[in-house]
């Protein structure tokens, strides 16, 4: 006979093991290149003081965050505390996270090099810079031995999966043309298309939400949140729910 689960009915005891805290959205990059914490909930966003800056690119998984400064890369924990600062090739970077949100991959276009953040340290990846034949637009980490990247070939885009250990391209898949693009840790792709943001999950289903501003870049803010840096107006925050997308505006930081 199967064991029946018994719940500890002393709810107060249950609460004692738990608790209440301020909900966190994640981190954003403002127009001045400053990383700021964002707290609150959808529709009631509170932008906090500066965490780091000036930053060229950044991404946050919820468990860790990575920020590219002029010639270094900084890793922060979930609270925004710096846990590592290392030299890195000059210029911009692309970042992606593993599904468990604990590891990150970085691509530095100026050097054509890749690095993997795992177990508290960056490891250079010996991948051929020409492996994608063209510059990646977004990058992700599917498991310990595979990265995925979205690359542009002429007017077409491809999702390419590469084995880290030998640099072999395992498969590629055509993608529709779009603007700014971001690979999420669960394999979903966020695309900025004209007048909308589109989320394509690995199963191929699609959700979209209107956004009538041109999007210049997409950054992972934290679990379920993507920042859309727009050409005009305040940056937008895309909230990814199970069955719907919502767009909010990120308030101007005053601190």
């Amino acid at each position: 006979m199967k064991t029946i689960a018994w719940l500890m009915l002393a709810s107060a005891a249950a609460w004692a093991q738990s608790g209440l805290s301020e909900p966190q959205i994640g981190f954003m990059l403002d127009a001045a290149g400053t990383v700021r914490r964002v707290a609150g909930i959808a529709g009631s966003l509170i932008v906090r003081g500066a965490v780091a800056g000036p930053v060229l690119d950044c991404a946050f998984s919820g468990a860790l965050g990575v920020a590219k400064l002029a010639s270094s890369v900084v890793v922060v924990d979930a609270s925004g505390k710096v846990v590592s600062s290392d030299p890195a090739p000059a210029g911009h970077a692309l970042f992606g996270f593993s599904r468990d949100l604990q590891s990150a991959v970085a691509y530095y276009p100026s050097a054509g090099s890749f690095a993997l953040w795992r177990a508290g340290a960056w490891l250079p990846l010996g991948l051929d810079p020409e492996i994608f034949e063209s510059r990646p637009l977004a990058i992700g980490l599917t498991d310990d031995d595979h990265i995925v990247a979205i690359v542009e070939r002429g007017r077409l885009r491809e999702l390419v999966r590469v084995r880290i250990s030998d640099g072999a391209i395992e498969w590629s898949e055509d993608l529709p043309e779009s603007g700014a693009v971001l690979l999420l840790s669960d394999g979903s792709i966020v695309d900025a298309v004209k007048g909308a943001l589109v989320l394509r999950n690995p199963q191929g289903t699609e959700m979209r939400v209107e956004l009538d501003r041109r999007v210049d870049a997409l950054l992972a803010m934290g679990p379920g949140w993507v920042e859309a840096i727009t050409a005009a107006g305040p940056p937008a925050a895309l909230s990814i729910g199970a069955h719907r997308l919502d767009v909010f505006s990120l308030p101007e930081a005053t601190q």
């Binding site: 064991t3 689960a5 909900p23 959808a42 529709g43 101007e252």
Partner: protein, 455 residues
């Protein structure tokens, strides 16, 4: 008259002692002679001559009252007497010549012991009059013709008359208007001949395109008259704040517009301000209630001429956050002297849930709920667990009052009524048989039933 002057000719030479009198014009002092001509003026006009008395000696001089004796001459400005003049210093006095007839005129001027004669002539010229408040006002050369204050982009015309009050025909060669905002003359053609007792009328117009002080000149042959006018901006049209108050609930971003009752006739800045009056006892404010564009409760905007709606950057609507606290948001608009106000009531509401998830561990079930309570009264929570066969896990619903926990949390919260609750249920037995949980949260405004959370 001239003969008398010649008799006095020797006097200035012996009175030179310490003072020198000069005509001051264009930054230059020209010492007077025994007979000094100060020019001519049309009958009805005036000319003013500036004289300087300079102490050429080594000791001070007390200048006594200066006199000008002669028809149509008068002192228009003089120093207080006695005026003590230090060595090398000077003092000015002015003499006005206003001829009443076409003739030559002279006058004796006495400055202490110094005497000299000034001469001038009256010439014939048409007189100029302006009709003001129904009566004719004579204008002398150099006088100002004032159009007063008018609204920009409107116009004001004045009627002027040139007339001949002499016994001879007078020629008017040229009438011209210069200066931005002024135009004319209309209704007259020059050159023209004015017979005795005849007159001709014409109009000049002031039509300022922008607000400000305007200056121009009316020239009639060699006589000039100043033209002045001031243009002012119209007031802003009545303005109103347009917001969908019925849609205002906590935890939302709403749009707002500032609309004008008519196209604005003026450009200028405006300010929107938000105030929040909390309806929750002990909760004075909510930091999330702000304009998105400014990240504060003040937001500037601009109105351009012709606008019927305010511009916030490139957009005509502005977003604000309603926060997560029940109360009243008051918007105050200031636009020039116009003010407008509107309120948005954020009603108390049952707990709103943003996200809810469940995680199964070996001997624990974790439930995580984020949301907000705009009444800050959340407390009672009810959990009903369901097994993988769809049966309720005994003993059924588990209800507990977490009021003190929420109360303590909200007392220190910096995110308004938003919260992230994590509840862990220790499980004895096989936790994998529990598939999901229904959660209800209750506050003073009602009970919220969450969609089933699966593990």
């Amino acid at each position: 008259m001239i003969r008398r002057c010649l008799i006095a000719l020797a006097l200035p030479l012996c009175a030179v002692a310490q003072i020198q009198v000069s005509v001051y014009s264009g930054g230059t002092e020209t010492p007077v002679t025994a007979l000094t001509n100060v020019g001519s003026a049309a009958v009805g006009d005036s000319i003013e001559t500036i004289f300087r008395v300079r102490n050429m000696g080594a000791s001070s001089v007390a200048v006594q009252p200066i006199t000008v004796a002669g028809a149509c001459f008068s002192i228009s400005s003089a120093p207080p007497y006695p005026y003590v003049l230090a060595p090398a210093n000077f003092v000015e006095f002015r003499v006005l010549f206003s001829p009443t007839a076409v003739a030559s005129y002279s006058a004796n001027v006495t400055v202490d012991d110094f005497q000299f004669i000034i001469s001038a002539s009256g010439t014939a010229a048409p007189s100029l009059t302006q009709v003001e408040n129904g009566s004719a006002v004579s204008l002398s050369a150099g006088n100002s013709i004032d159009f007063g204050r008018i609204l920009k982009n409107t116009s004001e015309s004045l009627q002027l008359t040139v007339s001949n009050s002499t016994a001879s025909t007078l020629a008017v060669g040229r009438i011209a208007v210069s200066g931005a905002g002024f135009s004319g003359p209309t209704g007259i053609t020059t050159p023209l001949a004015l017979a005795p007792a005849n007159a001709a009328t014409f109009q000049i117009t002031f039509a300022p395109p922008t607000a400000g002080q305007y200056n121009g000149t009316l020239t009639i042959d060699d006589r000039t008259f100043a033209l002045t006018g001031i243009a002012y901006d119209p007031p802003f049209p009545a303005a109103s704040i347009v917001v969908d108050a019925s849609a205002a609930t906590s935890g939302t971003q709403q749009g707002l517009e500032v609309q004008l009752a008519a196209p604005s006739g003026v450009s200028g800045p405006g300010l929107l301000h938000m105030d929040f009056q909390s309806a929750v006892p002990g909760v004075p404010d909510d930091p999330a209630i702000e304009f998105v564009d400014s990240g504060s409760r003040d937001l500037s905007f601009t109105i351009n001429e012709g606008d019927t709606v305010a511009k916030f950057g490139s957009s005509t609507d502005v977003m604000f956050q309603t926060g997560t606290t029940a109360g009243v948001i008051t918007f105050t608009l200031t636009l020039g002297n116009e003010t407008a106000q509107t309120t948005v009531v954020i009603a108390p509401a049952a707990v709103a849930v943003a996200t809810a998830s469940g995680t199964r561990r070996v001997s624990d079930l974790d439930i995580t709920i984020s949301g907000f309570d705009n009444t800050r009264t959340a407390g009672q929570m009810r959990f009903t667990f369901w097994d993988t066969n769809g049966n309720m896990v005994q003993p059924g619903a588990i209800t507990s009052d977490f009021g003190p926990n929420f109360e303590q949390y909200f007392a220190n919260s910096t995110v308004g009524g938003a919260f992230l609750a994590r509840v862990t249920f220790p499980v004895t037995g096989d936790a994998s048989t529990i598939a999901g949980v229904d959660v209800e949260m209750t506050n003073s405004a009602g009970t919220t039933k969450l969609a089933r959370i699966t593990f």
